[in-house]
């Protein structure tokens, strides 16, 4: 299976460990970054994961940031993505069966790598169980974002302002 994975700088080590675990199982992992602990921004990586899935370059996506909130929102705001933020397998399985979720999100600071790995295994092995009502609901969810904003320069303005030091505490 092809799995896209991405994270922010808070949990790069968690992402790297999960990536290895999935590779050991024979999955092809597309690493969307980030690759070190230098401060960066979760929307960049959540969006990259979701785009890989939407463009069928990956079967599923995995997104991780500190609590998972930021990156799960970045994923969900990307065209065609359906994710949930979980710490348990029940929610992940439910999201596959009922909403055909295509990305799973985690808080790497609140969920250990063992549990993340276990949940991913359950997530990717659970099949969507279609019914006309579920198909209709998924259509409605997808219809909430109609514009495919996949251009490379989407965050240029924010990154320029960041580099100029205009965002500071």
């Amino acid at each position: 299976m092809k799995i896209a994975i991405g994270c922010d700088h808070i949990v790069t080590d968690v992402k790297d460990k999960v990536k290895k675990m999935l590779e050991n199982d024979g999955h092809e992992v597309i690493d969307c970054g980030t690759f070190d602990f230098e401060r960066t921004h979760y929307p960049i990586f959540g969006r990259k994961v979701a785009m890989q899935v939407n463009e069928k370059k990956a079967d599923f996506g995995v997104a991780i940031c500190g609590t998972g909130v930021g990156i799960s929102n970045a994923v969900q705001k990307t065209f065609g993505a359906r994710t949930v933020l979980v710490r348990d397998a029940i929610t992940a399985i439910d999201a596959r069966k009922n909403y055909d979720a295509n990305v799973i999100s985690f808080g790497g600071a609140v969920t250990g790598t063992g549990l993340i790995y276990e949940i991913i295994k359950k997530f990717i092995s659970t099949k969507y169980e279609p019914t006309p009502a579920k198909d209709e609901l998924i259509k409605k969810i997808n219809s909430l974002i109609t514009v495919k904003k996949f251009e490379d320069n989407l965050f240029d303005e924010e990154l320029t302002k960041w580099d100029k030091g205009l965002y500071h505490d």
Binding site: H41, V84, L85, A95, I141, L144, L154, F155
Partner: protein
């Protein structure tokens, strides 16, 4: 005074009304409580309320929390925290500026729900460097 809406979705979750209302009111917040059946259309109606600033932040208690997250997070300016622990609760207020929190009551114990709501409502957004991520999220939709 900050206005918080507590939305209890599904009959099973109406039992949280008294306890969570007290948590929010004890923090000196203005409170609106609504009990409703869960549906896609109800979530769209709630989104209209939050987009038109009928209240400042929304706390949703629902069985798993997944559908409210999936629907509400699709909209511009909504940042939805689908969480179940106290750490995420205060961090998402402080760092993500989440305006919506959704808790899955089938997964989270009553006392934890109480604490998660308390920490979320008691914490304010720090803005500063975190604003760059919010601006980026708003570029997405």
């Amino acid at each position: 005074m900050e206005k918080i809406k507590l939305l209890l979705l599904g009959k099973n979750n109406f039992t949280y009304k008294e306890d969570l209302s007290k948590v929010i009111q004890d923090l000196k917040k203005e409170l609106i409580v609504e009990e409703a059946e869960m549906s896609f259309e109800k979530l769209i109606e709630i989104n209209d309320e939050i987009q038109t600033k009928k209240f400042d932040r929304l706390v949703i208690i629902e069985d798993f929390g997944s559908l409210p997250f999936m629907v509400l997070a699709k909209f511009h300016s909504n940042i939805v925290a689908q969480i179940s622990d106290e750490y995420s609760s205060h961090m998402t207020s402080e760092h993500n500026g989440s305006n919506i929190m959704v808790i899955g009551s089938q997964l989270t114990g009553k006392d934890t729900i109480h604490n998660v709501v308390k920490q979320y409502v008691a914490t304010d957004f720090a803005a500063g460097r975190h604003m760059v991520r919010i601006d980026m999220l708003n570029e997405l939709v």
